[in-house]
């Protein structure tokens, strides 16, 4: 077991993890943060996307021990003081979720995309979402939601 120190959703955490534990397992099983979902085993679907030191990462692609010292925000930590984050609100307003399983990862990827100034237009949003799969929405309304928050005009 290895000792790992993380700041997760603003809370200081010290954990004993196995070397083989993926970050997503640390979040889900050690910290009971089950909002981050697992949808595949090849880092293809993006359902497990979280923010690590401000950037979106698929939490199945790194080991818990590799995240030692990092600041992590999961879907549970996005709504400040109970108010939905603008991206969450836009997903609600545009009906950008159906079954909701890809949604936490999709929202975190969108937050990162917008934060990095990469959501310049719909084509850029689509390219930026390439690593996040949704089977319900056909992405149409997800793109609309992100475009609204990013102020994309085309």
């Amino acid at each position: 077991m290895y000792r790992v120190v993380l700041t997760v959703n603003g809370v200081h955490r010290e954990l004993e993890v196995e070397p083989r534990d993926l970050l997503v397992h640390v979040l889900r099983e050690h910290l009971s943060l089950t909002g981050t979902n697992v949808g595949c085993d090849t880092s293809s679907c993006g359902a497990c996307t979280v923010l690590l030191d401000g950037q979106s990462v698929k939490s199945c692609t790194i080991l818990g021990v590799q995240a030692d010292g990092a600041t992590i925000i999961t879907i549970e930590g996005l709504a400040a003081d109970g108010e939905l984050h603008p991206v969450q609100q836009a997903f609600h307003d545009h009906h950008a979720l159906q079954c909701g399983y890809c949604t936490p990862g999709m929202v975190m990827a969108a937050v990162s995309l917008i934060g990095n100034g990469e959501a310049t237009d719909r084509a850029a949003i689509r390219a930026g979402l390439e690593g996040n799969l949704c089977r319900c929405t056909g992405y149409h309304n997800i793109v609309e939601a992100i475009a609204e928050v990013a102020g994309s005009t085309s």
Binding site: E18, D41, L84, H95, L97, C99, A127, R135, Y139
Partner: protein, 780 residues
Amino acid sequence: MSATETWGIGAPLKRKEDGPLLRGRGTYVDNLDLPGTVVMVVVRSPYAHATITSIDTVAAKAAEGVVAVFTGPDLRDDWKAAMPCAWPVTEDMKSPEHFPLAVSQVNYQGDGVAVVIADTRAHAVDAAELVDVEYEVLDAVVDVAAAAQDGGTLVHEELGTNVSYVWPLESGTFDEDADVIVKHTYVQPPLIPNAIEPRGVVARPEPGGEVTLWSATQVPHILRVLTAATLGMSEAKLRVIAPDVGGGFGSKCDVYAEELLAVAIARRLGTPVKWIEERSENALATIHGRDFVTTLELAATGDGKITSLRANVIASMGAYLQLVTPGIPLLGAWIYAGPYAIPNYSVMFTGVFTNTTPTDAYRGAGRPEATYVLERTMDLLAKELGMDRLELRRRNFITEFPATIASGLTIDSGDYHASLDRLLEHLGLEQLEAEQQARRDRGDVKQIGVGFSTYTEMCGLAPSRILGAIRYAAGGWETATIRCLPTGTFQVVTGTSPHGQGHETAWSQIVADQLGCDPSEVEVLHGDTSISPYGLDTYGSRSLPVGGAALWSAGEKIIEKAREIVAHQLEVSADDLEYEAGTFTVKGSPDKEMTVKGAAWAAFTAHNLPDGMEPNLEATATYDPPNFSWPGGAHAAVVEVDTGTGDARLIRYVAIDDVGTVVNPLIVDGQVHGGITQGIATALYEEALYDEDGNLANGTMAMYLVPSAAELPSYELDRTESKATDHPFGAKGVGETGTIAAAPAVINAVIDALSHLGVTDIQMPATPERVWRAIEEAQQ
């Protein structure tokens, strides 16, 4: 605008379901962490066809954390019946005995042979590696058409054939002497549904011998009945809960081995058992869709009137018959003529076994397969006739409703010309054709094409009598209960089981519209057999056409009883009351009024009810639909094809759908978006690839191309509306329309883009390699 227009039927109400899902508070099965839970991992066959010669579990049982290991023979006596197939489509249909773990032979790659139960998932996975299974490998049957031939390898030796059934439907005689006959054979490969949430199960034994089963399922009610039957336990002792379910698309409309195993083992061990499917496991062990080889013939007069249709379908069942596997082809059997009036009609289905993952319902289930071959052949026929492809469609559209079609069913309503007219208003076909010609003239490496699909389909499953006539084991009704609570809120219990379709929102709108309340005052309960003892769940675009109608009927009963209460309280005749949007008024005395909520309070206190009336205002209705639901419409795809690389990209997609009355346009558009996307994926990207030994070659999301946002355009949607006359408020199903319409539109567009090069056919999915080869072959 009246109050109900802002949030009743027809309003774009934002979904009630969204809050918890957006905040990461979904209740998906994998999030359930019950005390004492042990984890189940399934040991699966690496071979598609093999005899099990021995299984050694000694090392696995001794591994760290392992609680138990069970093989097929170990559990054989736990099963009081084989795994269920609810649709024996013919009297002599052949079906192999199928148990949750193989007993002596494996018949597809992924067939379960043992389970390991351990304290943690990691320990269970590690120990599963130690289960030593010896196999004697047999030749595998993979090709659908070859499987149907006599004399080849048999999947199930004991059946003496690979043919499960032959099912014909014939009306009239094919006109062999017609002016024009076109005939073409189409391959529709197997597809992996890929709901983003894999399947998952938790079974908890309760102190009194009951079991609670949480499952990522579309069908908690059906699952309860059939799990109880398979295990020989009382249905009343089994509670099935479908919590938040992360998509289904038909793949979770089944009774799976792991559900039965979890219940059986939880009962044996007396502790909760959890199984969560891995994605690569999902590709093997969750049903596939499609896998049809179809030959379609159309006969027509020289001026384009189609006189006859004949379809010969060979459909893969996969290795076993799952819940409704043999019935999937039949769900398309009545609509091979689509929206066209074709008097002579004959279709024949041959269901065959192969050493591949069992097939079953995948979005559209039988109807995309029918619509694809029809709409492809319509383009071929137009070409043969030298007629405009849309003119050919228009010349054959059914125009008078109700329309009894040659296959024997009756389409209650539709207006296919209106949908096509609307499509052309949006499309700008002339400009597209001008652009196409310009690119052809200058020999542009990137060519564009426009493809069409006009369709109708039968959904809203289904009238019980018809289901009985075609040998389906259950009915097609749905139930709903409305409880008018004393404080003026409403509790709805529905037998439908949503997994993304927004029933909580839409059902609230229906009640709000009918009983005059705010949707926020309606609580919708679903997906738990202890609160909704009856129900037939969600599949086949049935929830609104059947479940919504049941809810409406329950509302009518509420209004009827409330009317008696109000008449009594206001001391007037019930006939003198007028009702609108939750309020009763007295004719001629507009100041005298009372609401449904007021009646609910009066019914609760029961101080002053009519003689003999039971207290409380609550109603349950069970609705058996008089007909299927018949949505329709017209879709167009615009593709750009790189003739150098063969890469086909969708650049526009315009969809006009007629789904009758729309309860919530946000939700309806969302269903269409998602449906279209799965149809596009079928046309361009997706195919489960098996090698000749039956190994699934692309069973991961890294290899199987579920399209991302980057591959797709935004969509252009509009609607026409012809209300369903066989539905209390005119609604039709919408869950599968997009998938049914999209694939032929896209392939027709790809062929249109390349028609000047001589390309007339491309097999789905139109991968760059297939497109490139089609161009090369046409050029030779």
